[in-house]
Symmetry: C2
């Protein structure tokens, strides 16, 4: 579908209006009605697997012709297992508690008014994402469960796959109480279309971009609609003077090595100087055996011969790889100063046996997740117990950290009176 | 102070950096330290009253010369009573509970991790406001109590008054643990300066404009920083078939007449047709006796001779005056349809004796405040029990409805482990 600029605008407006109308019909539905639609979606994804795989093959062929990298091809590719994975994910969302119409507080005023806050859907969510077609199903399910209509704009490499997944989800809507336009994808491949979507502040309530920092910065810079920003994760583990050595080693190894390519992996290790001689050389040897490249501060380099010296830029680097910056600090204050100066407010963990410092670290460090004696890798919606995750916010407005179903809602005030008036 | 464009940018950046540095020093302060600063501020406002009044007189002289309207002059003007009012407001904020470091939830994961959410300040708040100098003290107090640094940009008519109030507040900071730059005002009067402030997404976390819709739209259109929007309040009261007549009359009168110039005053009255003959003529007579002009739908005009017919545009009008649109509807569905179509998602109230419809109205209407048997005038931070109000949000992101201290915070995840790692 190729269209000129005024048509792009008209097409964006059409989607936005349809989404808003659908959101109004979706908001009052019962949990049972929404769950019925979700379970039908899951069944249909499995039943229509041959169609999904055929459309996916066409994406893969085009991507190969375009010379797309192997890593991207792998992210686009669907197989029977991945399709069942999608269906399973949708069933899991159906099983989660419905946040909509939950009363989170209820109190009484001196004049007898009973006042409370009740969760309601945000309205219309726009999701702008890259490669993976499973995001289409995941994001649609989370939006639907939380009573929001969604406009999905996936990456062009998986265009047919995303359209196919959405078509199946919409079939399920058509056979349930959920309006079809609660799930819409963008048919236009033109890149300029996204800019048009981002102007629709009267129709779309929130934009969640999922992808690299460039995508997120571009979306944020062009949007009139609030955007959930997920910039980088420069996560720290601070090994305190009173850290149990074996626990520190286990956590530090896990935080760096278990999956280095993700935002909650540790990028900089900070170690109290009192424990450093007993901890740093052995830890670095363990890292090196696992293929981790170390970039150390002056003291670290003096303690462990043959490692590279960290530059100033290493302290702000999100390696997403088997590379680790290491710095020896004189106390927790210096560790927290380092985190405030170079960190990204994503995830920081202290390893300590000291009660007072555990409390201080938790209170003083204001990152989206602050941990005591746990791997930074736990900063994830599923691991923290949110049930699912639509994204991670690294800015503090609306949500901070992993976003589950509750973060796709807001609260309205509810007031029960007996005829009260203002004097 | 008159400056060219690059200097404006540099000046904005200077304020932003100072605010961010102050925010980091302010966040960890104890409730007692913050309260001490607030009480000192209140005392100093009273003690320095002659200075404040002298600066205010100079604003008033300039404003008179500039031919500013009487209403604006009244809003700018300070007297001993208004200065004590400011001090009293600051003391009330000191008495409110501190939201910072409150743990709002704490749960346990199957692997033994204890996970919770703890409130933390947002960081730096920018307040852009019109006339009233008391906003300078109110907003600064609320930001300080919630651990946020604030940059205050008041209207040019009250420039000297605002600077004077801020100078007094900063004197109090200097004598307490609160960093002075936690409260900054903009010295530059140049209008273009606001645009520079609105670019500082790395230094300012949230912008709260307080003023007319034009101001808010201009700020929202130019800002790279999230903006709390407060557009209009087209509030409705729906008088149901089962409404107790005397209660309906009391609430409808109060919602329109008690203070018509504010956003939570009723603008449109919806009445069920079954009760209309017994309610509408008498109610309109009461309104007319109080000087309220009525604009009625066809049925209303047929029922009460001599009143003006409402145009389509009357249903979306925020009169802020003694004017009321009245429409007779066939049932609650038609009332809710009307609210969804023409309303502003601000405040709606149903008057009814019917249990089922009270529940349905509360659940189906998604405005920032939805009420049963109460005047719309209660949609106010103080009246709802938030203790104070920094603004009202009519959009659903971050906050919806009146914003108190809690809405000036976000939550971080806190995680207490015993050495847990991801498998």
């Amino acid at each position: 579908m190729s269209v000129d600029a005024p048509s792009l605008q008209a097409e964006a407006l059409r989607l936005g209006k349809q989404a808003k109308a659908a959101a109004r019909r979706l908001a009052p539905l019962s949990t049972a009605e929404k769950n019925r639609a979700l379970l039908l979606m899951a069944d249909k994804l499995e039943a229509r697997s041959p169609f999904l795989l055929a459309e996916n093959r066409r994406d893969l062929e085009l991507a190969k012709q375009a010379g797309v990298s192997k890593a991207v091809l792998d992210r686009i590719a669907l197989d029977a297992g991945r399709v069942s994975g999608m269906a399973k994910g949708v069933r899991e969302v159906a099983a989660l508690p419905d946040p909509v119409r939950e009363v989170v507080k209820l109190w009484r005023r001196p004049n007898g008014l009973q006042v409370g806050r009740m969760r309601i859907p945000l309205g219309v969510i726009g999701i702008i994402y890259e490669a993976r077609p499973n995001v289409t199903a995941d994001a649609a399910a989370l939006c639907l469960k939380s009573g929001n209509a969604v406009i999905l704009r996936g990456g062009s490499e998986a265009h047919r796959s995303n359209q196919a997944v959405a078509a199946v989800l919409r079939e399920a809507c058509a056979e349930s109480a959920v309006p079809q336009d609660a799930v819409q994808t963008v048919e236009v491949k033109d890149h300029a279309f996204v800019s048009e979507l981002l102007q629709l502040e009267d129709y779309i309530d929130l934009i969640i971009p999922r992808g690299g920092e460039d995508l997120i910065r571009a979306v944020a810079a062009n949007s009139k609609i609030p955007v959930i920003k997920h910039y980088k994760g420069v996560c720290h583990v601070y090994v305190d003077a009173d850290a149990p050595l074996d626990m520190a080693e286990r956590i530090c190894f896990n935080a760096k090595v278990q999956r280095p390519s993700v935002c909650n992996a540790m990028e900089t290790l900070l170690v109290h100087e009192a424990i450093a001689p007993r901890f740093v050389p052995a830890m670095i040897a363990t890292y090196q055996a696992a293929g981790v490249e170390i970039r150390g501060c002056e003291k670290t380099c003096a303690m462990v011969p043959g490692i590279n010296r960290a530059n100033e830029s290493d302290w702000t680097e999100e390696y997403l790889d088997l590379i680790l910056a290491v710095r020896i600090v004189k106390d927790m204050d210096e560790a927290i100063d380092h985190i405030e100066r170079y960190g990204s407010e994503h995830t920081e963990s202290i390893v300590t046996g000291n009660y007072q410092r555990s409390r201080e670290f938790i209170e003083r460090v204001n990152s989206s997740a602050v941990m005591v004696n746990a791997s930074t890798r736990f900063n994830d919606g599923g691991e923290l117990g949110l049930g699912a995750e639509i994204g991670i916010s690294t800015s503090k407005i609306h949500a901070f950290g992993p976003m589950g179903l509750e973060e796709l809602t807001t609260t309205k005030f509810i007031v029960f009176g007996d005829g009260q008036i203002r004097e």
